[in-house]
């Protein structure tokens, strides 16, 4: 690979890549995301490779193993370009037919396309399938268009042009200003404005500063960060380098999951390729800017996704959080200013730089801009990764995209934010997706796990589930969190087993107040959120359990 030494050379390389491509050449994009791989898509990939070889079509047809397409429910998924024909639930046995009939013969195989279970309507193209049609897939949409292991494919989509623009046409201050104007808010949980955080780190005293990608994704039911990072690692990396330039950092860290080999591998390949092209390392694109990245793996405990715990983990220590009054943007890893953002937050940066903050702020609501990735799971017909503009109502997500509730059941509640989030009832389903609106209702978006519950769900049991999760995950360092959660779990368990007593609800409220006020980190502070939200909207279920001494477990 040649090293690229200027913005012009980057554009020449891009032109070269594009000129070698024929947009009409058929390409079979096979999903190699976590879900589809688990369903055996590796066998589908080999079957395509064999078939193409057998028919000596290597020069005429491209095969691409891609990241998650989003529609995990119907995996193994494939998309055939240029027509964008989607086939679902594909098996290796279907492969010869797909190659001869669709790839060569341009005919759609009826059996393999999506049928709407409600209307019986068939949809062959991505643009017609309700699941995809009702989304705005600015980030995740590129997953099916690139091989995550090929930087050239990312470049063909315009990749690294935002980095080049930042380095050569903008000062670090201008980049920072653009992010602030875009009102990009953190996607990892808090919704904190990224621009302000960057500014704090930039203005903090000290030469050495760090930027970090939070790719821990520990929230149960959340899988969108993985889908994006595995499927399009360069988009996150490009955002990170731009952020480093704006902040004045020369060392970055990627903190991510140890238990996903594809994710680890794709990140490693992306870093190597970016380095070889001179997009990473010394004197990036000949601009004089230096930046290196190191990968650290989490060890599968939830609290290590919390900012101060994550930074201790990168230092090689146990991921125990520290009190929040010391801000990591000022004093983080090795007491140096350290700016941490979520995978999705970083991935938003290149498009903001390329298309401008004005374009970006035209999407979304008053105070939540852009799109949001959502992991849709639970009692829902279409489990998968969804991307919608802020302002989309929860009803649209559940019914138009998610296809509603399985087995003809009614919806009871939607839960956001995992163990530190909250549930809201069906009656509030017309609420728009918005950081502040949902927080007001007691169900903050969190990282974006949207957990759908049907009428058979007992909300006391849901609460017990999350409290149980947190007792296992509390690091144990501070008493209000460790003991508080344990006691709340005990009482909620009693209630759900029909052993609840009068006064239990009041006691729960009291403990949650203390744990919320006195815990060291956000885990303990917000551990009772699911409890409080279910008490707010489903108090009658607790009361009924206590009064009737019913076991609902």
């Amino acid at each position: 690979m040649p090293r690229i030494n200027s913005a012009t050379e980057l554009e020449e390389l891009r032109k070269g890549i594009l000129s070698k491509r024929d947009p009409n050449k058929p390409c079979i994009a096979i999903c190699a995301g976590t879900g589809c791989l688990a369903l055996g898509n590796d066998r589908v990939i080999s079957a395509f490779e064999e078939e193409v070889k057998k028919q000596t079509l290597e020069a005429k047809v491209d095969i691409r193993a891609t990241g998650c397409h989003g529609f995990c429910e119907k995996g193994p998924n494939i998309i055939i370009y240029p027509e964008e024909i989607c086939y679902i639930e594909v098996t290796p046995e279907d492969v010869p037919e797909i190659v001869s009939q669709t790839v060569l013969g341009k005919e759609v195989i009826d059996r393999l396309i999506y049928t709407d279970p409600n209307t019986g309507e068939k949809a062959a193209h991505q643009s017609e399938i309700p699941f995809y049609k009702n989304q705005m897939r600015h980030l995740i949409g590129n997953n099916s268009k690139i091989d995550p292991k090929s930087i050239d494919e990312y470049l063909a989509l315009g990749g690294y042009s935002a980095l080049s623009k930042s380095l050569f046409e903008m000062s670090p201050e201008q980049v920072l200003e653009e992010i602030k104007k875009a009102n990009l808010r953190g996607r990892g949980g808090g919704g904190f404005p990224a621009g302000l955080k960057w500014e704090t780190a930039r203005n903090a005293p000290g030469e050495e500063k760090y930027v970090i990608v939070n790719g821990h994704e520990g929230e149960p039911g959340a899988f969108m960060d993985r889908a994006l990072f595995t499927g399009n690692p360069h988009s996150v990396l490009e955002g990170l380098i731009i952020g480093a330039y704006a902040i004045g950092s020369h060392q970055g860290f990627i903190y991510t999951r140890h238990d996903s080999p594809q994710l680890r591998n794709n990140i490693a390949v992306a870093l190597t390729q970016a380095e070889e092209y001179g997009l990473l390392g010394e004197n990036i694109l000949g601009s004089g800017f230096n930046f290196n990245v190191e990968v650290h793996l989490d060890i599968g405990i939830f609290v290590s996704g919390e900012s101060s715990a994550l930074m201790r983990s990168i230092e090689g220590k146990n991921p125990e959080p520290r009190p929040k009054y010391i801000r990591t943007s000022v004093s983080g890893i090795w007491e140096k200013p350290s700016n941490l953002n979520n995978v999705e937050t970083w991935a938003n940066v290149p498009q903001i730089i390329n298309r401008g903050s004005e374009w970006y702020t035209s999407i979304g609501t008053e105070r939540s801009k852009g799109t949001k990735l959502i992991s849709l799971s639970g009692n829902i017909v279409n489990t998968g990764v969804v991307e919608v503009p802020f302002g989309t109502t929860l009803r649209e997500i559940v019914y138009d995209i998610g296809g509603g509730i399985p087995n003809g059941k009614k919806l009871k509640a939607v839960h956001f934010g995992g163990p530190m989030g909250g549930s809201i009832p069906e009656s509030l389903l017309d609420t728009p997706l918005d950081f502040d609106e949902l927080a007001k209702l007691g169900a903050p978006i969190g990282a974006g796990g949207m957990f759908v519950l049907d009428e058979d769900t007992n909300m006391v049991d849901v609460t017990r589930f999350f409290l149980n999760f947190l007792t296992n995950e509390s690091c144990g360092k501070c008493v209000p969190c460790r003991e508080g959660i344990r006691q709340m779990l005990k009482i909620v368990t009693n209630i759900s087993e029909g052993k609840g007593r009068e006064g239990d609800i009041e006691l729960l409220e009291e403990i949650s107040e203390v744990a919320g006020a006195a815990s060291l980190c956000a885990l303990g502070k917000t551990a009772s959120d699911p409890l409080l939200s279910t008490l707010r909207y489903f108090r009658d279920e607790y009361e009924a359990n206590i009064k009737e001494k019913k076991c609902r477990a």
Binding site: E217, H258, G300, N318, N379
Partner: protein, 150 residues
């Protein structure tokens, strides 16, 4: 696990004390558990006190200080699998192999783990045996699946 293999892993991380967790993680993933001798070797090579290593090795549930079985069964008990019937599934697995999560059967055939959403919510409830996913599985079919692993 012999010292040469451990040394190789340590050397890969330039023998730096700050890479302790990464080193332990690699030993765990190659060897499936952390023998006492391995920890001693790491302590000596990285110049980190054994007490600190044990502190870390016991803190994370990913690390195991006891040997693991030949086959690792993972029952996902994440939120989505939970509402789709993971509890009954787990009960069935426990009944069949006679151990609880975190344990290893005395014949070293199986180890059982739970928790940790694997991000495959579309496939739930599921059990994963040695990395292979058995998706949307009913408790009645578990016995059939486990038969193939001995």
């Amino acid at each position: 696990m012999d010292n040469a293999r451990i040394d190789r892993i340590i050397d890969k991380h330039q023998g730096e004390a700050s890479s302790l967790i990464q080193v332990l993680l690699e030993i765990q993933s190659e060897n499936h558990w952390l023998p006492k001798e391995a920890l001693e070797r790491v302590s000596e090579k990285l110049q980190v006190p054994l007490t600190r290593i044990r502190h870390i090795a016991t803190f994370y549930k990913t690390f195991s200080l006891i040997p693991k079985g030949r086959h690792e069964i993972h029952v996902c008990t994440g939120s989505s699998c939970h509402v789709r019937g993971a509890t009954r599934l787990l009960d069935t697995v426990q009944d069949l192999i006679g151990i609880r999560p975190g344990e290893t059967s005395s014949d070293l055939r199986f180890s059982l783990e739970t928790g940790n959403c694997l991000g495959c919510c579309a496939l739930g409830p599921e059990i994963v045996v040695d990395g292979k996913h058995h998706s949307k599985i009913a408790p009645d079919n578990v016995e059939d699946v486990l038969k193939d692993y001995d």
